[in-house]
Amino acid sequence: MYEEQDLEAVRECLEGDVDAFETLIVRYQKQVMNLAYRIVRNVEDARDVSQAVFVKAFGRLSSYEPRFKFFSWLYRIAVNESLNFVEKRNRKPGAESVPAGTAEDPEDLFEISERQGLLDRALHKLHPRQRALLALSVEGLSYKEIGDMLGLPEKKVKSRLFEARHKMREILVQDGWTSHA
């Protein structure tokens, strides 16, 4: 939908108009931050990683090939940056890093936070690459698009994604989660 506008903004940036990059930040900041958070599992770290993603993307704009969608290219940088960050990080993210859920009823809020706690613990037990696969799949990307981003053949994407889901479900069930709760 935004492909033409993205290309226009990239062109303007390459012609020296740094401000044109602001449009791209506004358009994709939420998605990039969400993707980074789903991989690094810490709000502040996700924010830092996302900012680094945009700075890196800006620095590499001259290597962006317009035949690819800008957001796919940006997502690829975001995935790599997030995975690199997690690999370098030697501390485990704390519970305070989970963003607060929104519910007015305190009981609902409690339930949401319970479920989020379970999910968070399960995700920490997954490999960052498995989290990346899960994150990209819920973004509605095709197996091929995910494969292009991670440098994997489609078949591998499917087998690894299905394995990641299987493991996530298994950990959740072991921790007492029930799907009809």
Partner: protein, 258 residues
């Protein structure tokens, strides 16, 4: 234990990647198999839990912070890259000793004038012809061709001269990221003799048959010499690439003999 094919179909159904036939086959199987139904329901609920988990907000300062960083970083560098002369990096180590440098420069200038044999090379340009002559002790060079290219943060100039059975190539410039300049030549026309780094301490040179690869970064200056024993028609294929983008490509060719 569920059949791997059923697990595949359940997953593909979640991703909307099943064909109509696969969806029907899965539906039939789920109707008859309690274990598969539970697995499919759990898997969908787990994925939904992941998908619907609260997502963090970038925050009001997110964009401002990035833009401020980009404005700070990009603008001054681009300006510097354009303003920087080729010879300024030579003087950079002496920045802290301006006074001494000034005196030495003055004395040297005086000597040059007195000897009447020297010409001042000011920092607005690099006289490749003179430098090549100094390096080889032979000032008999004829300019053949030159080219320059620029991109944000990158500025490079290439000069080609022909001496007596020698081809001299000067490359100078400045870049805020690596630029790989490849010189392809025909080994049967000329032979690579030497490369001299005149300024800069980053990057390097790879020498392979028929090809010289200059990895340039920061402020840099290289002088290369090729010998062409019979002064044949030399040709040189030059390509400059940075981060996958081609900045310059051209095949230089000249008439043979001298």
């Amino acid at each position: 234990m569920l059949n791997p094919d059923v697990i595949r179909l359940i997953n593909q159904e979640l991703d909307g990647a099943n064909s109509a036939e696969e969806s029907r086959r899965l539906g039939d199987f789920l109707e008859q198999n309690e274990e598969a139904r539970t697995y499919a329901r759990d898997l969908k609920a787990a994925v939904d839990l992941f998908r619907n988990a609260p997502s963090p907000e970038p925050g009001a300062a997110f964009k401002t912070k990035i833009m401020a960083f980009l404005q700070r970083r990009e603008a001054p560098e681009a300006k510097n890259a354009l303003k920087k002369s080729f010879f300024s990096p030579l003087f950079e180590p002496l920045k802290l000793k301006y006074a001494l440098f000034f005196c030495l420069g003055l004395a040297l200038g005086l000597l040059l004038l007195l000897a009447s044999k020297f010409r001042l090379i000011n920092d607005s340009g690099w006289d490749t012809r003179e430098l090549a002559g100094t390096v080889l002790g032979d000032a008999n060079y004829e300019p053949l061709d030159s080219a320059s290219w620029e991109a944000a943060g990158i500025s490079q100039k290439l000069e080609i001269l022909r001496g007596d059975k020698i081809l001299a190539v000067g490359l100078r410039g400045s870049s805020d990221r690596e630029v790989v300049v490849t010189l392809n030549f025909a080994p049967d026309q000329m032979r690579f003799d030497a490369v001299r780094r005149l300024t800069g301490d980053q990057g390097g040179v790879d020498i392979v048959p028929g090809k010289i690869i200059l990895r340039t970064y920061g402020s840099h200056g290289f002088l290369l010499f090729f010998s062409a024993p019979d002064n044949p028609a030399p040709s040189l294929d030059v390509r400059a690439v940075s981060e996958g983008a081609t900045l310059f490509t051209r095949t230089f060719a000249w008439p043979g003999g001298k």
